[in-house]
Amino acid sequence: MKNILYVFSGVIFGIVMFKSEAISWFRIQEMFRFQAFHMYGIMGSAVVVGASFVAVLRRLGMNSITGEPMKFSEKKKLYKSPLIGGVIFGLGWAMTGACPGPLFVNVGAGYSVMLVVIGFAALGAFVHGLIAHRLPR
C-alpha cells in the first residue's frame, strides 16, 4: 500500500513537471538568461508552500504513516562540497536542460536520448563514490 503511494507521488511529480514545462531545455535556457519569470515563479512558490507545510508539520510533531518520526531534511553543515559540487552540477544542468527529476520525466515523455544522459549521470555518481573520501568537504 505504502509502495503504491510512493509511485503515486512520483506520478503527480511527473505530470506537474511536464505540464509546467520545467522539464524543457528551452525553459532552462530562458531561466539562466533571465528572460522570463516562469521558472523562478515555479521554484519560488514551491519553496514557499513547502516551507510553510514543513513548519506546520514540525510543530505538530506527528509521526509518518510508517509510525516513525518524519525525516525532516537535516543536511550536514558543509561549505566546500555543496559549493564546488553545486557548480559542477549546475554546468551539467544547463547543458542537458534537465536536473535529475526531469531526466526521468523526459524519458517517460518519450525523449529517449535522455536515457543516455541518465547513464552518464549514474557514471558520474559512480566516479564520485570512488573518490569521495579524497574530496574536500
Partner: protein, 187 residues
Amino acid sequence: MEFIFSPWPWYVTGPLIGLLVPLMLILGSSFGVSGNLETICSLVGAGKVSDYFKLDLKRRMPSLLFVIGAIIGGFIAANWLSIENYSIALSSDAINSIQSLGVFDTTGLQPSELFNWEFLFSVNGFLLFCFGGFLIGFGTRYAGGCTSGHSISGLSNLQLTSLIASIGFFIGGLISTHFLIPLILTP
C-alpha cells in the same frame, strides 16, 4: 477541459511541487531524486567495486518508486494530457538567444535539433549530453543533493547547506549558459 490540455501556469505547478515535500514526509520518506543515481549504480553491481555503494536498498526503495512514478507521470502527461505539436510560450528574447546558438526550431517542448540520436552521436552532442550528464551525476552527489533535494526540500527545511548548494547550482548554470554552451553549439 481545455485548461488540462494547455500548459499549467507557474502559480499552479509551483505550489503543487511544494506540496510534494510535506507529502513525502508524511509517507515516511523525503523529497529528492539524485540519490537514485547511486541506487542505480548499486543495482548494477557497483557494491562489488567500492564499499561506498553497499547501500541499504530497502531504505532507498521509496525514492526509487517515486522516480518510477515520475517516468509514468511523464508518459501520462505527454500522451493523454497535452495537445500535439504545441509550442512553449517562450519570451521573444529567449527565442532570439536560442536561435543565435544555431538552434532554430523553437517549437515543441524540447529542441528537435538537439534531442535526437544523430546529434547525440556527434562530438557536440557528446559534449552537451554525455559530458553534461556526467557533470550532473558527479556534481549532485558531491553536493549531497540536486534541485529537488537541496533547492526545494532542503530550502523548505531552512538548511544553510542547501542554500550554498543552490547558489552553486546557479553559478554553474550561468557559466554553462553564457560560456560553455555557446562554445559547444555555435557553428
